[in-house]
């Protein structure tokens, strides 16, 4: 069974002369339970693919199938129960006037859960936040704690697929490792499918089994993470990306 199946996906912004093609003819496939990484420099269209899947990109064409079913437009509640997304910047993805409790209870009630109190405690526990965090506001939390809340919110509807939009890039290095470990644990525990966007090859190598390399809106190469480690690449851009990543790691 396939988790995410994308073929011939085009996403563009604006019309006529102002039209910008953000994603061109993208094709990727993530098996159910798999974890897939999209890498590329900023502006290469990786986040736009996630936004197109979630229905946040206004204009797109092509085929998007989730769990073997084509997505409806606009996305229905069933879709949002199956697929959730974690945003890049935890400082921007939490409502400044809503406490953790409000965020989670609203999410749970929108999805029609009844036992909200016990579920909130369970969710906070899952993401490694104690019950003492439940009634705090975002300004009382650190960046890593905020991202944990955002992950808890994404997990609340018990999705099968989680889209991760550079979930650690806004955090400092020590916190990045914690969040990555948390994501790895959660995937094992909840049998989640991940589609993760990052410009950091080390992060993607840690989480993902397969990666796709994007350049200027096109997927130039798809390869397994073992091939990536062994530098077995087809496309010159992938090689360039890997080398610069190695250099920055060494330097």
């Amino acid at each position: 069974m396939s988790g995410i199946e994308i073929e011939g996906l085009n996403v563009w912004f604006g019309d006529y002369e102002e039209r910008v093609d953000a994603v061109k003819n993208a094709k990727l496939s993530v098996p159910k339970g798999g974890s897939f990484g999209l890498v590329g420099e900023s502006g290469s269209g990786k986040s736009t693919i996630l936004r197109a899947i979630m229905g946040l990109a206004p204009t797109w064409s092509g085929k998007i199938e989730i769990l073997d079913k084509p997505v409806e437009n606009p996305r229905g509640r069933d879709f949002y129960r199956a697929v959730q997304m974690v945003f890049q910047d935890p400082y921007a993805s939490l409502h400044p006037r809503h406490s953790v409790d409000q965020v989670l209870s609203e999410t749970l009630s929108l999805h029609g859960f009844k036992d909200i109190d016990t579920r909130i405690s369970k969710l906070l526990d899952d993401v490694g936040l104690g019950p003492s965090f439940r009634f705090r506001y975002p300004h009382q939390l650190s960046g890593g704690q905020r991202q944990r809340v955002a992950i808890a919110r994404a997990l609340a509807p018990e999705p099968q697929i989680l889209l991760l939009d550079e979930p650690t890039s806004a955090l400092d290095v020590s916190v990045q490792a914690e969040i990555l470990n948390l994501l790895t644990d959660l995937r094992a525990e909840h049998k989640l499918t991940y589609l993760m966007v990052s410009h950091d090859l080390a992060v993607v190598g840690h989480i993902c089994h397969d990666i796709a390399v994007m350049q200027l809106g096109e997927i130039v190469e798809t390869l397994g993470v073992e091939d990536m480690r062994a530098m077995r690449t087809q496309h010159s851009y992938t090689k360039h990306l890997l080398e610069s990543s190695l250099q920055s790691a060494a330097g």
Binding site: L56, S93, H95, L110, F135, R136
Partner: protein
């Protein structure tokens, strides 16, 4: 002055905690912190104090007023205030003097505070809510709805405010309710503008996307996610506008289109005093001072609230 200073330190610690234990606790703690930062602003506290005094005076006007505001005594008309040297020492009462019909100005001022509060409350309930609705719907929906709603707003904004209010009152008929309605009709467009601008910055933020990804509809997003963020800047704007609203109401009263005689509305009182302003200054000055004090109080409070509530500066 504050309650918490005199109560046991346990409550203070409970309110200042970073780890609230229940929904009510979290709300109380954030309210208390806002109160603390407002309390630090002495001018705002002065404004708040004056306004609280206004509320108390309006509630207790019948007890506080030395005489009936409507009783006339033509023999004692235009009595100077008590400290004036040219006042006949045999006259009793009339601390702030009497007007052209021999009515006690102090009593009229005290009763007039009720009318002022009535106007202020009604306008504050109507104009910002209409503005908030129009602005957030226009900003969130975008497209043709935005164009239609904002062009209507522009039409209202294109008129000078008092002139438009005059036109409304002339159509609806003179009277305090119609004055309130006219002022509200002219006061909402700036609020719609502010609310729309705020909505435009909020609508594409990640936390709005995030709640859309939970399947929330536009109604829920506007009322539960956008309104709480717009309200603080509207509250600031309303308190700063209150002075203008009181003055507009007084202006309508002065022109004879607001409160009708013998109602002790402050603007109407100034209008009556105008005829005697050269020889009997107190008739117009006393209500003028009352309007000035209340307007100033609203401005001071508005400035303080802006420091507390404006999310753009400060820690939140």
């Amino acid at each position: 002055m504050s309650l918490a200073d005199t109560q046991k330190p346990g409550l203070r610690a409970w309110l200042l905690t970073d780890t609230p234990t229940s929904r009510r606790h979290a709300r109380a703690a954030s309210l208390y912190q806002a109160w603390l930062s407002l309390k630090g602003n002495h001018m705002a506290m002065l404004g708040l104090g004056i306004l609280l005094a206004l509320v108390v005076i309006a509630a207790l006007a019948s007890v506080l007023a030395p005489s009936d505001p409507f009783i006339q005594d033509l023999a004692l008309r235009l009595t100077p205030p008590i400290w004036q040297a040219d006042r006949d020492p045999a006259i009793e009462g009339y601390i702030l003097g009497s007007d052209s019909l021999g009515r006690d100005i102090l009593s009229r001022l005290l009763y007039g505070s009720r009318i002022t509060l009535y106007i202020v409350t009604l306008v504050a309930l109507m104009a910002p809510i209409v503005g908030l609705l129009v602005g957030t719907i226009a900003g969130y929906a975008g497209g043709w709805l935005d164009v239609i709603l904002m062009r209507i707003t522009d039409i209202f904004l294109a008129f000078p405010r008092l002139i438009l209010a005059l036109a409304f009152v002339a159509t609806l008929g003179a009277g305090i309710e119609n004055a309130v309605l006219a002022i509200s009709l002219t006061a909402w467009p700036p609020y719609a503008r502010i609310a729309r601008a705020e909505t435009l910055t909020i609508r594409n933020s990640d936390y709005i996307h995030a709640v859309r990804l939970q399947g929330a509809g536009p109604m829920r997003i506007i009322t539960k996610h956008i309104w709480p963020l717009c309200i603080s800047s509207l509250v600031v704007r309303v308190t700063l506008d209150m002075a203008g609203i009181i003055l507009a109401a007084a202006g309508l009263g002065f022109l004879g289109l607001g409160a009708q005689p013998p109602s002790p509305e402050w603007g109407a009182m100034i209008s009556e005093g105008r005829k005697f302003i050269l020889d009997h200054w107190w008739v117009a000055t006393m209500p003028g001072l009352a309007i000035f004090t209340v307007s100033l109080a609203f401005n001071l409070l508005g400035d303080g609230l802006r420091d507390v509530l404006d999310p753009k500066d400060g820690k939140s």
